[in-house]
C-alpha cells in the first residue's frame, strides 16, 4: 500500500500512510535539521462522523501511554510532577505544522517552537549543568526565541471525541458475535487536506488487527515486497491471520478499548487492501 518511491514532499491528497509504520516513533526534525524529539503519540479527533489525525505528541507525556503497565504510569506520573502546572497535559504539534513525512517527520518553524516549549529537561540541563561546564557553546539559540503566542491552544485536552493513537493501538477487536480477533496493530490514514507546504490533516481509513503483535511494526504486513526473502516468508506465515478493515465497518468503544467489526464487513489481509 505504500508508494514505491521514497516519500518526498508532503503526502499528496489520497496518499496512504500506515501510522505505526510510517509516522509513530519517527524522529522529528526542525527546518534547520535540529533534532526535536520523536513522534511519541498521535492525536485523533472525531469530526462529523470521520476520525481525523490532527497532530502529534512528543515527550514523556505521549510516550508514557505507549509503555506497558506500571512503567508507563510511572513515566507519566514523574513527568507530571516535574511540570510546573499541576494537571498538565502533553503539548500537541498540529499536523498543519508538519512539512514532510519521510524517514523523519519534518516540522515547520512554528512546530519547532511548540516542541521547544515542551523540552523541560533539555532546558533545565542546559541552564544548570551543561552551561556551567567551561567551554559550553551555542547558548543563544533559536529554540528559545519567540515563545509560542497561543500556547494553551497546543495542549491536548482529553474529552469526548479527542483521543490518542495509543487508545486505539492494542484495543481488542471482536466480531459481531463477540469472538476475539486479536488487537489493533496499525491504523491506516490518508492525506485529505494538505494546506500549502504542510501535511494538514490525515483521515483514518481503516485498521489492521491480528492475534500476533510480534514483528507487526517491521513492515512485512504492510509492504508485500519487504525483504529479505526468509524474513518475508516467516512473517507472512506468522501474520497470515492479520486483517484490514475499513473504519466504516467497525464500531469503536473508546472507553472499554474494544473495536467491534460489523457482520457485513469483509476484512482482507493488509496486502490485499
Amino acid at each position: 500500500m505504500t508508494s514505491p518511491q521514497p516519500v518526498h514532499g508532503h503526502p499528496a491528497t489520497g496518499q496512504v500512510l500506515d501510522l505505526v509504520l510510517r509516522v509513530a516513533d519517527h524522529q522529528v526534525v526542525g527546518p534547520e535539521g535540529l533534532l526535536l524529539g520523536n513522534v511519541d503519540n498521535l492525536v485523533l479527533r472525531e469530526h462529523e462522523g470521520r476520525l481525523l489525525v490532527t497532530g502529534f505528541v512528543s515527550g514523556p507525556g505521549g510516550l508514557g501511554p505507549r509503555l506497558p503497565g506500571s512503567l508507563g504510569r510511572w513515566v507519566q506520573a514523574v513527568w507530571r510532577r516535574l511540570r510546573s502546572d499541576a494537571d498538565s497535559q502533553p503539548t500537541v504539534v498540529p499536523l498543519s505544522a508538519v512539512a514532510r513525512i519521510g524517514s523523519a517527520v519534518e516540522v515547520t518553524r512554528h512546530g519547532q517552537q511548540v516542541l521547544a516549549s515542551g523540552m523541560g529537561l533539555e532546558h533545565w540541563l542546559r541552564t544548570y549543568v551543561v552551561s556551567r561546564i567551561p567551554g559550553a557553546k551555542g547558548g543563544e539559540d533559536r529554540l528559545e526565541g519567540e515563545p509560542v503566542q497561543d500556547a494553551a491552544q497546543h495542549v491536548w485536552s482529553p474529552g469526548p471525541g479527542s483521543h490518542l493513537l495509543s487508545d486505539l493501538l492494542g484495543a481488542r477487536v471482536r466480531s459481531a458475535q463477540g469472538e476475539d480477533l486479536g488487537a489493533v496493530l496499525d491504523v491506516c490514514a490518508e492525506a485529505v487536506a494538505p494546506t500549502g507546504a504542510a501535511v494538514g490533516v490525515l483521515r483514518v481509513r481503516g485498521l489492521s488487527y491480528g492475534p500476533r503483535a510480534t514483528g507487526s511494526e517491521l513492515g512485512y504486513t504492510e509492504d508485500p515486497r519487504q525483504g529479505p526473502l526468509v524474513l518475508r516468508v516467516l512473517f507472512r506465515r506468522l501474520h497470515r491471520a492479520h486483517r484490514y478493515v475499513p473504519l466504516e465497518a467497525v464500531d469503536v468503544d473508546w472507553q472499554a478499548r474494544v473495536v467491534t467489526v460489523a457482520p457485513s464487513a469483509r476484512p482482507v489481509h493488509p496486502h490485499q487492501r
Partner: protein, 409 residues
C-alpha cells in the same frame, strides 16, 4: 588528489580504529591457549562486521537515520526500550573495559598504579568528547592505532614456519588439552570481539555527524571492505604472536603486559614503545567511541538532539549522558574489578546483545520506501540473512557455554 588522500585517510583510520581492548585481550588469550585454531572465527567476525557496518552506514547515508533511531521505529517503544537497556549495559561495560585498558597501558609505560590512572583516564576521555572535533578524534586515534603493526612485524621477525601456520589456521581442531565447550566459548568471545554492537552505533552515527549522503557510499564501502579486513589482520597478528611465544610454554595470557611480550622479545625497546602507543591509541580511541555510543543510542531512542556537529548547549541531554557514562565507567573500575576480566565478559555479552540491533538494521536496509535503489541487493541480502543466523546462534549459545565452561576456565 585531495579525494585520494581523504580515501586513504579513511581506510587507515578504519584499520587502526578496528582494534580495541576486546580484540587485544581476546586474540592474545586465544592465541596463547588455542594457537591458530580459532583464526577462522576472526575471519567470520570480520566479514560479519563488514556486512553489518555497510548496511547501517548505507541506511544512515541515504535516510539520515542512525541505528537506534531505527531500532525504536521498527521495534516500537516497548521492545525498543528493552533493547536499549540491554545494548547500553553492554556498551557501558565495553566503555569500562576500554578505560581500564588505557589505565593498564599507562601503567606499563609509567609503572604508576592503574587505580591512580583510572580517574585521570576517565576525565581525559570526557574532556576529549567535550572539546575535540569529531573528525580529529576519529583520525588521530585511528592513525596512532596503526602502531599495532609492530605485532605483524614481530611475527615476521620470528620467521615462523608459514606453511605450518597456514595449515593450523585452515584445518582448525580443538587442542588436546582443551574441551570442546571451552573451544566454542572462546569462539563466541572472539566473534563478539570482532562484531561489537558499539562499532555499528558509532559508525552509523558518525556517518550522520559527517553529513554523509548517497554520494558518500563509495568512500564508506572502501573504508569498510578494505579497512576492516586489514584491521582484522592486525588482530590475527596479535594472536599469531602470542601463539608463537606462549603456546609452546603452556602460558595463558592474563595481563596486557603479557600481550606486549612477543613484541619486546623480537623488537626490544622500540617495539615496546610502539606496542604501548598502539595499546593506548586503540583503547583510548575505543573509549571515546563507546562513550559517544552510549550518548548516541539513548538520545536516538528518545529523539533528543545528539552529536558533536551541534554546539554542546544544543545537545545538553546528550552531553549529560556522555558525562554520566564516563563517571559510571570509572566508578565501576574503582570497585577494583580486573579490567582484563571486564573485557572478557564484555565481548561475550556483546555477542549476546548483537541480534538486538542487527535484526532491525537488516529489515530497514530492505525498506524501499526509505532506501529506494539503495535497498539491499541480492548479495547484501544473502550475506545479511546468513549472518542473521550466525549472530542468533552465537547469541543463544553464549550464556550456556559461559555457564558450562565457568567463563572459559
Amino acid at each position: 588528489m585531495k579525494k585520494l588522500f581523504a580515501l586513504a585517510l579513511g581506510i587507515l583510520t578504519a584499520i587502526g580504529g578496528f582494534v580495541d581492548i576486546g580484540d587485544l585481550v581476546t586474540n592474545a588469550l586465544v592465541g596463547s591457549r588455542f594457537g591458530l585454531s580459532l583464526v577462522w572465527v576472526v575471519a567470520v567476525g570480520v566479514l560479519g562486521i563488514c556486512v553489518f557496518a555497510e548496511m547501517s552506514g548505507r541506511v544512515a547515508a541515504v535516510s539520515g537515520r542512525a541505528t537506534f533511531d531505527l531500532v525504536r521505529e521498527r521495534l516500537g517503544p516497548r521492545l525498543g526500550l528493552a533493547n536499549l537497556l540491554a545494548s547500553m549495559a553492554v556498551t557501558a561495560l565495553t566503555l569500562t573495559a576500554e578505560i581500564g585498558g588505557v589505565a593498564l597501558a599507562l601503567e606499563l609505560a609509567t609503572s604508576v598504579n592503574p587505580y591512580l590512572w583510572i580517574p585521570v583516564v576517565g576525565a581525559a576521555v570526557w574532556l576529549v568528547l567535550w572539546r575535540v572535533r569529531f573528525a580529529v578524534l576519529e583520525n588521530a586515534f585511528g592513525l596512532a592505532g596503526l602502531a599495532l603493526v609492530v605485532f605483524a612485524v614481530a611475527v615476521w621477525q620470528m620467521g615462523p614456519d608459514w606453511s605450518a601456520l597456514w595449515n593450523d589456521a585452515t584445518h582448525p581442531s580443538v587442542p588436546g588439552n582443551e574441551s570442546l565447550p571451552t573451544y566454542l566459548y572462546y569462539a563466541v568471545a572472539l566473534f563478539g570481539a570482532a562484531m561489537t554492537p558499539y562499532e555499528v552505533f558509532f559508525f552509523s552515527s558518525g556517518g550522520v555527524e559527517e553529513h554523509w549522503t548517497a554520494d558518500s557510499l563509495r568512500t564508506m564501502r572502501a573504508n569498510v571492505f578494505v579497512g576492516f579486513p586489514l584491521g582484522g589482520l592486525l588482530s590475527v597478528s596479535i594472536a599469531v604472536a602470542t601463539a608463537l611465544v606462549f603456546l609452546p610454554e603452556g602460558i595463558q595470557v592474563g595481563t596486557l603486559g603479557q600481550v606486549a611480550l612477543p613484541v619486546v622479545l623480537e623488537l626490544g625497546k622500540i617495539g615496546l614503545a610502539l606496542a604501548l602507543l598502539g595499546f593506548f591509541a586503540a583503547t583510548f580511541g575505543a573509549a571515546c567511541e563507546t562513550g559517544l555510543s552510549v550518548g548516541y543510542s539513548i538520545a536516538q531512542y528518545f529523539g533528543w538532539q545528539w552529536g558533536k556537529y551541534v554546539p554542546p548547549l544544543r545537545a545538553a541531554r546528550f552531553h549529560t549522558v556522555v558525562l554520566l557514562s564516563c563517571i559510571a565507567g570509572v566508578a565501576l573500575l574503582l570497585t577494583t574489578v580486573d579490567p582484563v576480566q571486564v573485557t572478557e565478559y564484555s565481548v561475550v555479552f556483546s555477542a549476546i546483545a548483537l541480534p538486538l540491533t542487527y535484526f532491525p538494521i537488516l529489515v530497514v536496509a530492505n525498506d524501499r520506501t526509505y532506501m529506494g535503489r539503495h535497498a539491499n541487493g541480492r548479495l547484501a541480502n544473502t550475506l545479511g540473512t546468513v549472518y542473521l543466523v550466525v549472530v542468533i546462534v552465537a547469541s543463544v549459545a553464549a550464556l550456556p557455554l559461559m555457564l558450562v565452561t565457568k567463563a572459559g576456565q
